[in-house]
């Protein structure tokens, strides 16, 4: 219920559009029912008049038929437009809401216990949710409103028929879908689990293709995938069968409503309690009233899916950021010096410390190389300087506590060319402008040349407008790394952290790159993170060794 309330809360800004779409949908459905009921009454009354007086005022009923016909036709069109309008507005709103909620959490609070990124698992959930209104919320609301209206009118006209139709509407619209949902719960949960397993097996088959081929195990993996696929399909089929039964159940209830309306009204006519022309009118109205609940079984099948997606999204969006931004305005840094005083960091409460009482002073404008094996804590230092994680101890930048700086101001001063920095599926230019939107082409080309990408770009037919592909897939690993570097240089920060810039480079290019960087970064505080002693020696003025989060030399 709490989740439902929050879903409504998300939809609140669009309630005008939604209410309008729902109202028009109700008018459409009721017009449809009215059309059939009046038509039934009209032909019966005309037939009776035909064999008796031969006189009848047919203007009113035929006008009603025309009116209902117009309402039904126009209403359907308008309703589809309005409901789509509402959906798209909601869709844009939910995306933006999610992005803004998750932004303060990244990256520290968007990871699970094993360090996997939680945001990437959200896409399916967001998609489920964006269709929730169109395919779940609207049909349910319209069905309930119309069913109540129809039953009320029928009760007024002929209470027994009203009662019977009401009962059958509940059976077909609520009971059958609910039973189906219950029957589908077991295989549904099984399907969710099997889908994850299948996905893992498929990724294994593709990413592990080399290993599988080398071991002659391709057939085995394919059989594994195939078996999981069959199991998944079977679970899905069992889920769907209950949906099929529910849908046929609605059809059966509609038939029974028609039947009971005919029977009950005929009995009243026989007892002279009801005008004869009401028999076809009530029968057709009873049948047509199921138009309101017909979409319910399909909608209810989505119920569990939507609620689960909403629960996951809210759980993530509700996390409280562990890194608390400073309250006041940022202090003015004295210079680009850095001091680490017994700094400690753990990525998870029960994990080993990534930094363990680190003490390090880097005077302003000094080039320092951080050496050490992987896992020594080198990259963690960069993350702390960006305030991505909270830490123990104290870090001072330009003489002031790092925690006193507003995150945005801090990130203007500190530039990190991270190992795991990502590129965007856009052009070279757009990727660079991400860092400095107002930079001109000359500045971009200069930074690219510094990063030893000048020749590469010069040889591209489209130059800066070259599309670099998903995560920079059209670049080699070394080129992608250097593009990240160029992007960082473009911002000209006072403090630079370069994380393994020579990774994936051949020794010759690596030597040139370091030489160029040395010149370009003169006067700025630079931390070069590397595992390569030769690189450290070429570039840095001081060398610091880390091991297991501590300084060892």
């Amino acid at each position: 219920m709490a989740i439902l309330r929050r879903l409504f809360g998300l939809a609140r800004p669009y309630r005008g559009w939604m209410g309008l779409a729902g109202a028009v949908a109700c008018v459409t459905v009721l017009a449809s029912i009215g059309l059939m009921a009046v038509a039934g009454w009209f032909i019966a009354a005309m037939a009776i008049a035909g064999v008796s007086t031969g006189m009848m005022n047919y203007f009113l009923p035929s006008a009603a038929i025309r009116l209902f016909a117009i309402l039904r036709t126009g209403g359907r069109y308008l309703e589809r437009l309005l409901s789509h309008e509402a959906t798209f507005r909601l869709l844009a709103g939910v995306r933006l809401w999610l992005f803004r909620r998750l932004e303060p959490l990244a990256p520290a609070d968007l990871m699970d216990r094993r360090g996997a990124d939680l945001a990437s698992g959200l896409q399916a959930d967001v998609e489920t949710l964006q269709h929730a209104y169109l395919r779940l919320g609207a049909p349910v609301a319209v069905a309930v409103a119309c069913a109540i209206a129809v039953v009320a009118i029928l009760v007024a006209l002929h209470p027994p028929t009203g009662a019977a139709v009401g009962l059958l509407l509940v059976c077909g619209g609520a009971l059958a879908p609910a039973l189906a949902r219950r029957a589908a719960a077991g295989p549904g949960a099984q399907a969710v689990r099997l889908r994850t397993e299948l996905r893992v097996a498929v990724v294994d088959a593709l990413q592990g293709a080399t290993d599988l081929r080398a071991a002659g195990a391709q057939e085995r993996q394919r059989a594994h995938v195939s078996a999981l696929s069959m199991a998944l399909i079977d679970a899905q089929r069992r889920t769907a069968v209950s949906g099929v039964l529910a849908e046929a159940g609605v059809g059966l209830c509609a038939g029974l409503a028609l039947w009971s309306a005919a029977l009950l009204s005929a009995a009243s006519v026989a007892a002279s309690d009801l005008a004869p022309a009401m028999v076809p009118a009530l029968s057709l109205a009873a049948l047509a009233s199921f138009e309101a609940v017909a979409p319910l079984p399909a909608a209810m099948q989505r119920w569990g899916e939507v609620m689960a997606a909403a629960r996951r999204l809210f759980a993530l969006a509700d996390r409280v950021p562990t890194v608390v931004p400073a309250v006041g305005p940022s202090p003015v840094p004295r210079d680009g010096s850095l001091e680490f005083l017994s700094v400690g960091l753990r990525y998870s409460p029960d994990g080993a410390p990534a930094l363990d009482g680190l003490n390090l002073v880097i005077p302003s404008g000094r080039r320092v190389a951080l050496l050490g094996p992987s896992g020594a804590g080198k990259s963690s230092i960069a993350k702390l300087l960006l305030r991505f994680w909270d830490y123990e101890g104290e870090i001072r930048l330009g003489g002031h506590d790092l925690r006193l700086y507003q995150p945005e101001d801090l990130r203007r001063m500190v530039g990190v060319a991270a190992q795991d920095a990502q590129l965007f599926n856009a052009t070279l230019r757009d990727n660079l402008l991400m860092a400095a939107p107002e930079a001109d082409d000359a500045a971009l080309l200069q930074c690219l040349a510094l990063a030893q990408l000048g020749d590469v770009v010069a040889h591209l037919p489209e130059g800066l407008d070259t599309w670099i592909g998903e995560s920079g897939a059209r670049l080699s690993a070394g080129q992608a790394r250097r593009l990240v570097l160029a992007r960082t240089l473009l911002r000209a920060p006072a403090v630079l952290v370069l994380d393994e810039p020579t990774e994936n480079l051949d020794p010759t290019t690596a030597r040139r790159l370091l030489a160029a960087l040395k010149v370009a970064t003169a006067g700025r505080t630079v931390i070069l993170i590397t595992h390569d002693p030769v690189a450290a020696e070429t570039f840095a003025q001081d060398t610091v060794r880390l091991e297991a989060g501590r300084r060892v030399g």
């Binding site: 844009a92 051949d506 020794p507």
Partner: protein, 552 residues
């Protein structure tokens, strides 16, 4: 057609009802005259329920076998493409298509196709039964009937084209959000997250505006459909009414026709509702076809026996991954049997391409590759891989235990054999220290291992291939710890003597173990010979060692 039969039961149902009600409405007869006919409706309703569910189950079964078939075909196809061509694809995307994309085909079969079947049959049946009892109404229905195929075509063409484009845009919009979320850390580091939020908002708004302008037109086709259906029902009702008043038509026939008139249009309206299912299925089918786009290369069939380590030669080989950008140009080289050859050169020189060709993952566009005198192009790829013990650059850890990861799921390899291989690869130590030893789960949801540990698992896999005549070691590009470097050196010393060995030395960590060196640059061999000789006076190799700080 079973579905159409179930839908057609509406005809006897309507006839029974009309027959039952007529005496009550017209003659105020007692309930007992109507009751037998009314009771007759109940079995019809029951039968309709049964037939509909059976038909829908049949649809589900058909969809299930289709999905299973498509999934198997796609996986088979991608495997046949070979690892080298797979490497260029995002496997996460491909997995989404294979898992969720194939699932999206189901509603198309169970809903759209099933309802299209009913649409083809039910209007004709209704027309056939209405014609004898009321020809005026059947003319009204017939007059609107040509509209049905017309709108089928309209729904199928013009509007749908637009809809499909919008649908693809929607998919792109989702990936925009995902892009932003996955790169949040990078955006924050660049102080660019506020700009990204604006971009996201603008994209959402642009999508809404453009889609709505398309939909306003696209929905017109369903508006017209609804209009014809509603007008036809209204006209039928009014015309019946006036003929009843004039006494030229009986009430029973009139009511019967009025009951059937909505059913005449029901399947078509239903089909309009199903268009989402169709749209999703088409989008999914397009993505599936994208995966099947690239044709695998023709495979050879020869399975020669190798009695000792074969000499492997590349003879004037030219190869390009994409036309016009050759990765290798006229490369000739020879790996001597029983010797260790290292392939070195700057990144992008073509080392990985040589490897893919030698492993038979892809075939040269020019020139030929021979192993022990046999042309690789004529050889069965799986058979050739049986001769090769391979340690890949980035070994993959599968979902499963350490044990199964080392023996690659082969049940014929015992736990003891696995332990022996792991010990030879210096992996036994860290494996036994894992929480569940050899039964510790690895892979996406299991224990994560360091790069060095993964390399040693891959070495253990290679040690299990005792019959292999060729050893290929593709050095990782990431830095290795000392234990792993030692393990690799040890493994090469053990395995190399009876084999032809190739080291791809990206980082030069293993280059000192080689007898011979081949230096590749810009897709050509620029230097080749004994290592000692090249170290002394080889221009390229000696320079490379010096730049790497390896030359004393």
């Amino acid at each position: 057609m079973f579905g159409a039969l179930g839908a057609a039961l509406v005809v006897p149902q309507a006839w029974l009802l009309a027959h039952a009600i007529t005496p009550i409405v017209m003659d105020q007869a007692g309930l007992d005259t109507a009751l037998p006919w009314l009771l007759g409706v109940l079995p019809v309703l029951a039968l309709r329920f049964v037939i509909t569910t059976v038909a829908d189950r049949q649809g589900l079964t058909a969809a299930a076998s289709l999905k299973s078939q498509v999934r198997d075909d796609v996986v088979r196809h991608l495997q046949a493409l070979g690892p080298a061509r797979l490497a260029g694809r995002a496997s996460g995307d491909a997995a989404s298509v294979i898992v969720e994309g194939v699932d999206a085909l189901e509603p198309y079969v169970t809903r759209f196709l099933a309802h299209a079947g009913i649409l083809a049959a039910l209007p004709l049946i209704i027309l056939a039964v209405v014609l004898p009892s009321d020809w005026v109404s059947s003319i009204v229905l017939l007059g609107t009937a040509p509209v049905i195929p017309l709108f089928m075509v309209l729904l199928g063409r013009g509007a749908e084209q637009l809809n499909r484009k919008q649908w693809r845009k929607l998919t792109r919009l989702s990936s925009l959000l995902l892009d932003g979320l996955q790169r949040l850390a990078t955006l924050k580091a660049l102080n660019a997250s506020a700009r990204e939020a604006e971009r996201l908002a603008a994209a959402g708004e642009a999508y809404r505006a453009s889609t709505m302008s398309v939909l306003r037109v696209a929905f017109l086709s369903s508006l017209a459909l609804e209009f014809f259906a509603t007008v036809a029902i209204a006209v039928v009702a009014v015309l019946i009414g006036f003929r009843l008043l004039a006494g030229t038509l009986g009430f029973e026939a009139g009511f019967f026709v009025l009951l059937l008139a909505p059913e005449f249009f029901a399947p078509l309206r239903q089909l309009g509702v199903d268009y989402h299912a169709r749209m999703e299925a088409i989008a999914a089918a397009e993505r599936i076809l994208d995966l099947l786009d690239e044709a695998p290369e023709a495979a050879g069939a020869r399975r020669p026996t190798f009695n000792g380590p074969p000499a492997i030669e590349m003879d004037d080989v030219t190869f390009a991954w994409t036309a016009g950008r050759p990765a290798l140009q006229g490369v000739s080289l020879r790996l001597e049997p029983g010797e260790v050859t290292a392939l070195v050169g700057p990144s992008g020189a073509g080392k990985s391409t040589v490897l893919s060709l030698l492993l038979g993952f892809t075939q040269p566009q020019q020139g030929c590759i021979r192993a022990g005198g046999w042309d690789l192009a004529d050889m069965d790829g799986a058979h050739w891989m049986e001769q090769v013990a391979l340690v890949p650059q980035r070994p993959h850890m599968f979902a499963g235990s350490v044990l199964d990861n080392i023996r690659m799921g082969n049940p014929a390899i015992s736990r003891d054999m696995v332990r022996t291989a792991a010990a030879l690869a210096s992996a036994d130590g860290f494996i036994t220290a894992l929480p569940q030893g050899y039964d510790t789960p690895l892979g996406e949801h299991g224990q994560s291992l360091s790069g060095g540990q993964v390399q040693r698992i891959a070495l253990a896999r290679a040690f299990l291939k005792t019959d292999a005549r060729v050893l290929v070691l593709d050095e990782g590009t990431a830095g290795l710890d000392r234990a792993t470097e030692a393990a690799i050196a040890d493994a090469i010393r053990r395995l190399a003597p009876a084999r032809t060995t190739l080291l791809v030395a990206h980082r030069l960590a293993t280059v000192r173990l080689a007898d011979r060196v081949i230096f590749l640059e810009g897709g050509r061999v620029v230097e080749a010979g004994r290592r000692a000789a090249l170290e002394a006076d080889g221009h390229h190799f000696a320079n490379l060692l010096r730049d790497a700080g390896l030359q004393a």
